[in-house]
């Protein structure tokens, strides 16, 4: 589904990704771990099409298309979703209204009719229930005044409504309390299916107890240093990142 090949990315002249390659197939769940500043968010931002990154070489193909040629919204329409590490507040913009605009823009692009308010609200209420998001959050401004954990839960709620094919979750588990982690993980698990892929960026092996990954990658010094299964995360927890670099 997603094929990242020899990707080199710089930010403000500083090389962050230095020849990173990664293949993700439909039905798979990948976890990416790595030290702070390694470039995990950079990778997910580049996949989602954020401005400000210089892609000096390499390719990213998604379902056979050149992803780097597409605008961020085109990628969203094609099924790419990014749950932000730091979800942004947008004062005065209604949470549901933004989501509805997003859903309908995608439908329009697909040649489908826009959802009417009634059908849309039905989906929204269903999905809010799935991630146990209090309905009061639906009518509030996007992320404004949300607690850290509430913002993360809102990201998963949006993911549930937008129903993406490829979901990138950038540290969605950080800042969640134990109950919230279980709920969010439950939400993600319900969305797992054979034609969808999930990439979870995390610092904690704990998340992987709830959402079992098929692959665990360690990203450090701008490349994937090591790939393994769930046991790699356990070993990491024990030995730290230096151990990875020493035992490539």
């Amino acid at each position: 589904m997603l094929e990242v090949k020899d990707l080199h990315v710089s930010v403000e002249g500083k090389k962050i990704l230095k020849g990173l390659s990664l293949t993700i197939n439909a039905g798979e769940v990948h976890a990416i771990m790595g030290p702070n500043g390694a470039g995990k968010s950079t990778l997910s931002n580049v996949i989602a099409g954020r401005d400000g990154y210089e892609i000096t070489s390499g390719t990213i193909t998604y379902k056979g298309d050149d992803l780097l040629e597409m605008s961020p919204e085109e990628r969203a329409w094609a099924g790419v979703f990014l749950a932000f590490q730091y979800p942004v507040e947008i004062p005065g913009v209604n949470n549901t209204y933004l989501l509805k605009a997003g859903v309908n823009a995608k439908r329009k692009h697909q040649g489908l009719e826009e959802l009417d308010a009634f059908d849309f609200m039905k989906t929204v209420k269903e999905k809010a229930k799935l991630v146990e998001l209090d309905p009061s959050f639906l009518s509030r401004s996007v992320n404004e005044g949300f607690s850290g954990g509430e913002k993360k839960r809102n990201e998963i709620f949006q993911m549930a409504v937008l129903d993406p094919a490829l979901a990138l979750l950038d540290e969605t588990d950080s800042g969640l309390d134990i109950d919230a982690l279980r709920i969010v993980a439950g939400g993600v698990n319900k969305l797992r299916s054979k034609d969808k892929a999930i990439v979870m960026i995390t610092h904690y092996q704990r998340l992987l107890d709830y959402i079992e990954p098929d692959f665990v990658h360690v990203l450090a010094d701008g490349v994937i240093q090591k790939t393994g299964d769930k046991s790699l995360a356990v070993a990491l927890e024990e030995h730290g990142y230096d151990w990875v670099k020493e035992n490539k």
Binding site: F81, F84, I90, G92, V93, Y97, A105, V142, L162
Partner: protein, 485 residues
Amino acid sequence: MATNEEIQKDLEKREYDAGFITDIESDTLPPGLNEDTIRHISAKKDEPQWLLDWRLEAYRHWLTMEEPTWAAVDYTPTDYQSISYYSAPKPADSGPDSLDEVDPKLLETYEKLGIPLREQEFLAGVKNIAVDAVFDSVSVATTFKGKLKDAGVIFCPISEAVHEYPELVKQYLGTVVPQGDNFFAALNSAVFTDGSFVYIPKGVRCPMELSTYFRINALNTGQFERTLIIADEGSHVSYLEGCTAPMRDENQLHAAVVELVILDDAEIKYATVQNWYPGDENGVGGIYNFVTKRAECRGVRSKVSWTQVETGSAITWKYPSCVLIGDDSVGKFFSVAVTTNCQQADTGTKMIHLGKNTKSTIISKGISAGKAQQSYRGLVRMGKNAENARNFTQCDSLLLGDKCGAHTFPYVEVKNATATLEHEATTSKIGEDQLFYCQQRGLSEEDAVNMIVNGFCKDVFDELPMEFAVEANRLMEVSLEGSVG
């Protein structure tokens, strides 16, 4: 995804869709200003002697005054001898009695602007809006006069009110904004040509929204309108003014005066959607908008609100004010100002608290793009008898790009220790992170900009009457149209 510079570039290309010229024969005074000009205007309107004297007094005072320079705006001063002070489409020396007599070209003009002058054309379900249409120096049509009269409401051109309701006009004209109040108000008092007059009698809730649409068409003509609204005890009215002008390379002057009088328990909601021609992307042409607007809450528990959506004009100099005289009176000011390209706006409000327990709220939202400069200038004064007076001020600025500027000048004078004031101010750039967030959820960049800007303005748009909120939204969209390539 476009960068801020690209957004800015596209903003510069925004189209002004009210910029056409109506080709109509008009009766225009030659340029120049002296006592004869004023006598001429007065004679055209067949005015009583007292009004001519009032005008001349204002003119003589104006001659002693100097154009103010304290506002943070930069422009070539107007040559007051080079503009014409009166222009009326022929043959409308006085307003026509029915729409059938209105020149079809004028009807067409207003139709093009989306302003309904034919009463029967209102869609079912839409609340009726009465319209006074002012074209250059004269009112060309006023709708629903009859229906309003049945309710006791007077809504007519001020030139007509001078004849029909001289006592009311004499009693109130110039009592809120005196002839010599400031340079532009004095000029207006000397040469004002038309505008609307509204009187809501005791206890009456005006059965429909009232509105006046000002259109500048003639070349080299200044528009000096004068609006006077009186809300008698316990009455209520909601009023909107809209303004447009053709695209011309010359700057044109618009110096209006609006006076509001609010008696015991009465309320006026005054909304402005100002879309004068802003000039082109190089700052050529556009309207100089120097306006004095003031409301006096004379009665106890009286209320007034100024809501303004300012997207047009090359220069805006405007501070709608509230003088809160009656105990427990309330003044509000809600403003959205958009400046792009070379537009400059120095706008804000004055809240003068004189009575006990008076309350005021100021919410100002400024959006700047291109090389535009915008200043918020607000005065809150708590007089010595203003026991327990309260003010809340919030001004937020949003910048698109880094060549524009936003400035805030709050002035506070407190002479009563029991008064309380709160002030909040923020300046932010339209966040690349906000845009990306919206796009990641599937919005096009243009939709994302619109959504973020509308969200920024929400507190103010919520204050607009339903009928006008639609108009404001449309204007904002036009203003930001083409903000992506």
